[in-house]
Amino acid sequence: MSFSSQLPALQIVVPLLTAPIVMLLRGSSLAWCAATAASVMALCIAIALTLSVQELGVLSYAMGGWQAPFGIELRVDALSALLLLVTTGASSVALLSGRSSLARDMTEGQQPLFYAAWMIALAGLSGIAVAGDAFNVFVFMEISSLAGYILVAAGPDRRALPATIKYLIMGTIGATFYLVGVGQVYMMTGTLNFADMEVRLAEVTAQKPILVAAGFITVGLALKAAVFPLHMWLPNAYRYAPHIVTAFMAACTTKVALYVLLRFDFVVFQGNLSGHMDQYAGFLAPLAILGILVGSAVAVTEHHLKRLLAYSSVAQIGYILLGASFGDIAGLTAAFTHMFNHALAKGGLFLVLAAFALQVGGLRMLDIAGLAKRMPLAAAAFLVTGASLVGIPGTAGFISKWLLLSAAIQQGALGVLAAVVVVLSSLAAVYYIWKVVEQLYFGGPAESPATPTPAASAGLEAPPMLLLGIWGVALANIYFGLFPGFPVGLSESAATELVSHLP
C-alpha cells in the first residue's frame, strides 16, 4: 500500500478534491494559489506515472480493491502517460502564467468559481486518460465537458454564451452517441472493461451490432474531437473563451477525445471486426484530409487571430487523425508525437495572444499592427512557436511533421496523396503565420486604434509570469525539436502497444 501505487487514483483525486476547496476560498489570490498548486501536483504525479510506465509497462490500479473485470480499473500505459503529461502540463502552464489575463476577464468574486471549474475539468481529463473501462470514460468525459462549458462561458464577450450553448449541445450529442455505442457493446459482451471487452468480443459471432456500436462510438467521439465536419463548435468556443482557457483547451480537450477513439478502435474493434482496418482507414482518412484542407483554407482568410488559430487547430487535428488512420506503428507514432507537439505549439501561441490582448484592445489583424515594437519578447515568442506550428526544422513541430510525412509516403500511392495534402497545408500555415508575423513587425499604426487597455505593467510589456510562461513554452518547442527522444520514444511505445492488438 505504498504511496506510489496509489498514484493513478491520486491523479484524479487531487484536482477533484481541490475543486470544492477552491470554491470555498475567499479572494482570487488564494483560489489561484490552491488551483495552481493542485495542477502542479497533478503534473508531478503525471511525471511520476510516466517514469513508472517507462519502467514497468502498464500500471493497473483496482479502485477499492475490487479486481477487474468486475471492479473499476484504472490503467496507465504509455499513451495515457503521454496524454496526462500534455493535460497537466498545459493546465499548469496556463494557470501559472495566466492570472493577470484572467483578472482582465472577470471580477474578483467570480474567480474562485472559475478555478473550481478548471479543477473539475482537469480531474475529468485526467480521468479519461487513466480510466480502464468504457463507462468511466463517459463519466469523466462528461465531467470535463461540463466544466469546459463553464470555462468557455466565462468569456467576457456576450457571444461566449451562444458559443457555449452550441458547444454544449454538440458535445452532449456526441457523448450520448458514445453512450449508445458502449451500451451496444455491453449488450454483446456483458462487460465494460476494455481489456475484457477485447477478449469477450472475440467470441461474439454477430458482426452487425458491433459495427453499429463502432459507428456510434466513432461519430460520438468525432463530435467531441472536432473532426471535420463536426467541428462547428470549435472556432467560436475558442474565440470567445477567456484566453488562457483557449490555451488549455486547444492543448488537450480534443486530443483526449481522439485518445478514446483510438483506444476503443484498436483495443476493442480492430481485432474483432473483419475488414475493420479498411473501414476505419477508409472512413477516417478522407475526413482527416478534408479537415486539413478546410481548416487551412479558412485559416488563411481569417482576420481575427483567435479564430485563425482555431481553424488551424481543426487542420492539426486532421494531421493527428491522418497519422492514426494509417494504422501502423509509423502512423500512430506520428499521431501521438503530434498530440504532444501541437499542444506545445498551439498552447504557446494562445498564451502569446493572451499577452497581446493585455496590451491592445482586440485581437484582429488591425489591432496588432506594429505591436512588435512595444512587445518585442512576446512577438519573438510568437515567431518561435509559430515556426513550430509550421514545422520549421529545429522545432518540435518539424519532428511530428517529418514522422507524419514518412508514415504517409510509406503507404503507397494514396499515402503520397496524403503527403501532398500535408505539405500544402504546411505551406498554408507558413502563409497565415507569416501574415501575422509581418503585421506584428511591419504593420503600420493601427487604422482603428482599439481602446488601449491600461498598460499591463508600467515597465514590462506583459506581466512577468506570462512572459515566463510564453518563453518557457517557446523554449520547450525548440528543446523538443532538437532532443525529441522523450516524446517520440513514448509515442512509439504507445503505438507499438496499440498495434499489438491488431489481428
Binding site: 517529418w402 510525412l405 514518412s406 532538437l482 525529441p484 527522444g485
Partner: protein
Amino acid sequence: MSAATTILLSLLLPLSGAVLISLSGRWPNLRETITLVTAVAVALLVLSLVPEVQAGGRPELLVAQLFGDLQIAFTVEPLGMLFAALAATLWIVNSIYSIGYMRGNNEKKQTRFYVCFAIAIAAALGVAFAGNLLTLFLCYEILTLSTYPLVSHKGDRATVASARVYLGILLVTSIGLLLPAIIWTYLLAGTLSFSPDGILAGHISGPAVGLLLAMYVFGVGKAAVMPVHRWLPAAMVAPTPVSALLHAVAVVKAGVFTITKVIIYVFGVDNLFAEPSSGWLLYAAAFTVIAASVVALRQQNLKRMLAYSTIGQLSYVIMAAAVLTPLSEIGAAVHIVAHAFGKITLFFAAGAIYTAAKKTELSQLSGIGARMPWTMTAFTIGALSMIGVPPMGGFVSKWFILAGAFQSDNYVAIFTVILSTALTAAYFLPVIFAVWFGREVPGGKEHGEAPWPMVLALTLTALATLGFFFFNQPVLELESQLVTVTG
C-alpha cells in the same frame, strides 16, 4: 584543440558574436569591432581545418541524436571546406565594407543588421559543414529566416513586398519540394548521412531518379534554377553588403553547394551518369544560363543586372556538376570560388557607386571611371572575370568546365559555355566602355570615391579575383579529392 571542437566553435562563435553585437548596440565602434574580431576569429578557425581535410581527414561532430538514424551532425569534406573557407574569409572583407556602407548611407537599425548577418554566416557554415541531409535542411532554413530581416532592412512597403516574395519562394520550395525529397531519400536509403559513393546507390532507378532529382533541384530554391529564380532579383532591395555577401556568396552558394553535394554524396556521380532520367538537369541548367544572360542584357538597373548574371553563373555550377565527369566536378567547385570573388567585387562596386553618387541605373554610369578610378578598376576586373578573360579567376573555372565537357563530348555544355560567354561580354563590355570612355552626364553632383572601408574591401576582392588565376593550387588540390572520391 580537436577538430570536433573547432567545428563546434566555428558554428558557435558567430552566434555568440551576434549576442554580443546586440548587446553593444549603443556603442557603434565597439559593435563594429566585435563584428570584425568575430569574423577574423571564425575565419582562422575554419581555415585551421584545411590542412586536415587536405590530408584526407574528415573531422566530425555529433550534436544531437534525434530518433532512428536521424542526427544533427557535422562532417567536413573538401566541398564543404571550400564553401566554409570562402564564406568565412569573405565575411571579414564584407564586414569592412558594411561598416563603410552603413555609415556612409546613415542606415538605421544597424545593430539588427550585424546581428542577423552573424546568424546568417553561422547558418551558412552549418550548411557547409552539414554531415547529413537533415542538418543541412535545418541550417538551410535558418539561413532563409535569418536573411529575411536583412532583405527587408529598409522597411518600407515596396521592400517588404519584395522580401515577402523572397521568403515565399524560398520557404515554399524548401517545405514543398526539398523536405519531401529528403524524407523520400530517408525511406529509400535508411540514412541521411552523406557518403562518397552516394547513399541512394541501388535503392532507386528509372524515372524515379529523375523525379527525385527534380524535387531536389527545384526544392533548393537558393540555387535559382529557373523557374524558382524570382527571389534573387526580388532580394536586390536589400542593402548592397547583403547582396554582396549573401546573394553573391553565402545564400546562393549554399544553394548550388547543396545541389552539388546531393549529386555527389546522395545520388553518387557514377549512378547518375548511368541513369538516363537524370539527363534533364543539364538542359535545365543550360537553359537557365542562357535565359538569365539574355534577361541580364535587357536590365537597366545595375543590381538587377548583376542578379540575373548571378542566376546564370549559378547554373554554370549546376551544369558543370551535371556533366558528371571528374574535371567538370572540379570545375563546378572552382567556379564557386571564382564567381564568388568576381561577383562580390561587382556588388561592392555597385554599392560604392550608390553610396558615393546615389546612382543605380546603368545609364547614369557614363564617365564615372574618372571620378571613381579604384572602384571602377575593381568593377572591370570583376566583369572580365565573369566573362572569363585571363588573367582573371573566372578563366580558371571556365577552363575546367570546358575540359570536363570535352571529356564526355557534351556538346550542349560546350555550346552553352561559348554562347553565354558571348552574352556576358555583350552585357558587361558596353558598361565598362561607357564607364571609362563615356561622357559624364552633366548636372550630376560632384563626388569622389566611396568611404575608404568600402574601397579597401573592393580592392581586396579584386586582388583576390586576379590572384585566383595565379594562386589556385590549394583549391585545386582540395577539390581533386572529390575526383578520387567520385572516381
